[in-house]
Symmetry: C2
Subunit: 254 residues, 2 copies
């Protein structure tokens, strides 16, 4: 059971679009995927048809309840969901000063039935706070979606530092597996330059195929369908299937 954190503190970098569509593309390969929505804004949850996730995940993260009881089976075969909700805004406050608050999620994930899911994806909010640190403590791998724009680059150092710190102090098995360029506009030099900079800085962490800008990906949420259901022939679907394939390959290598 691989646990993968999808994270980048920069807003709008493509985290949710990546988490939802990777989940669907992986499910197409007959893997069973559990998506856990750690963002109080819960956009992954709405996308998968759960507009109000309720108090469950909040309760769990402050110490009560079982993760398996919070699982929804979505309309998409192989994609299960633990939804987020606005309640989660209160977790950081409720757990302020609580020893080991950042380990609660890991414990909950480790208590899941061993064979029910192959991959767990954690969709993170745009910050480096308790939700994100909890995801990094619980995961073995990190996928970092990066919008192919300049402003996206300056925060990466901070993110890498946070990953390093979690690795040193709380989770020695943690590693970044993928730096995923998103919203790449192949006609724009800026886009290509940013992807080049990412490749030269991160080498093979950047997969051969990137995620291109595709309006179908932006439309899909209002139809509450991942791209593989909404527009299976679109470049968005093609790119996320390629990204899923790459993720599976890298998983084998670890």
């Amino acid at each position: 059971m691989r646990t993968i954190a999808v994270t980048n503190q920069k807003g709008g970098s493509g985290k949710t679009t990546t988490a939802v569509n990777l989940a669907a593309a992986l499910a197409e390969t007959r893997r069973k995927v559990l998506l856990i929505d750690l963002d109080p804004q819960a956009s992954a949850s709405s996308w998968l048809g759960v507009a109000d996730g309720g108090k469950g995940l909040f309760e769990l993260l402050v110490g009560n309840g079982n993760l398996v009881d919070l699982v929804y089976e979505t309309a998409f075969a192989g994609v299960s969901l633990v939804p987020g909700s606005n309640w989660m805004v209160g977790v950081e406050k409720a757990m302020a000063g609580e020893v080991g608050a950042e380990t609660v999620l890991r414990k909950a994930i480790q208590s899941l039935p061993r064979n029910r899911w192959d991959i767990i994806l954690l969709d993170c909010p745009p910050s480096l706070g308790l939700m994100v640190v909890s995801a990094l403590v619980a995961a073995q791998e990190v996928v970092v979606p990066v919008e192919a724009h300049v402003m996206a680059l300056s925060g990466l150092a901070n993110l890498l530092q946070t990953v390093e710190r979690v690795k040193e102090r709380l989770n020695p098995g943690l590693a970044i597996s993928t730096i995923l360029p998103c919203r790449v506009d192949v006609r724009k030099n800026l886009s290509k330059e940013v992807v080049e900079r990412l490749r030269s800085r991160f080498g093979r962490l950047v997969p051969p195929t990137v995620i291109r800008e595709n309006v179908r990906l932006a439309e899909a949420p209002s139809f509450e369908q991942p791209i593989t259901a909404y527009s299976p022939e679109s470049s968005g679907a093609v790119d996320y299937r390629a990204a899923a394939g790459e993720l599976l390959k890298r998983g084998k290598e670890r």
Copy 2:
């Protein structure tokens, strides 16, 4: 001296691009503008050439120091900056449980010399936490940049509720002056549909001109120049000048 909060908890909605380029466009009309960067990711500050804002704003927000001592004069006439920095991540924790923490910024702004600036713009992080509430308490007006995409719409109710609550309990003079559609791609139906939905929901809060997608706006940060300096003929510059003009008009009506 008008104080304007530029806020939207959705990541990547165009807050920083709007704050920096409105500041520059307003300065072109000979107004004196002070931009205060309330985001620990400090992208507005890097854009205006201050990569490391230091501990000043953190210290101020936990109760020490004078705002006027933290002001940088940027390379752009009429645009002053109080930079953000990663130190500000610690403000919420340091002020947890502190009575009236959300009023510290307002007090600091009110202590500024009365005639040195005409407009104060507050660039906010993608959240509804202490920095954003402090901005809403300090401001008279709110500008809400909204990316012309579906996922941008669901968080608006939450934001409006927060504005209402601040208005009722802490700042009766607060009002949303502008809902600003950003990154509008005129060739995409999705973009046009989202703008239409915003117009039907918010009426004249949505200005006649919107901010179109323009790669020059995405390139400008790496040149550390607002769009008005980097590419004065671009649609990005045209649109932000129009938005600035609209903001000035609405200011007169209040």
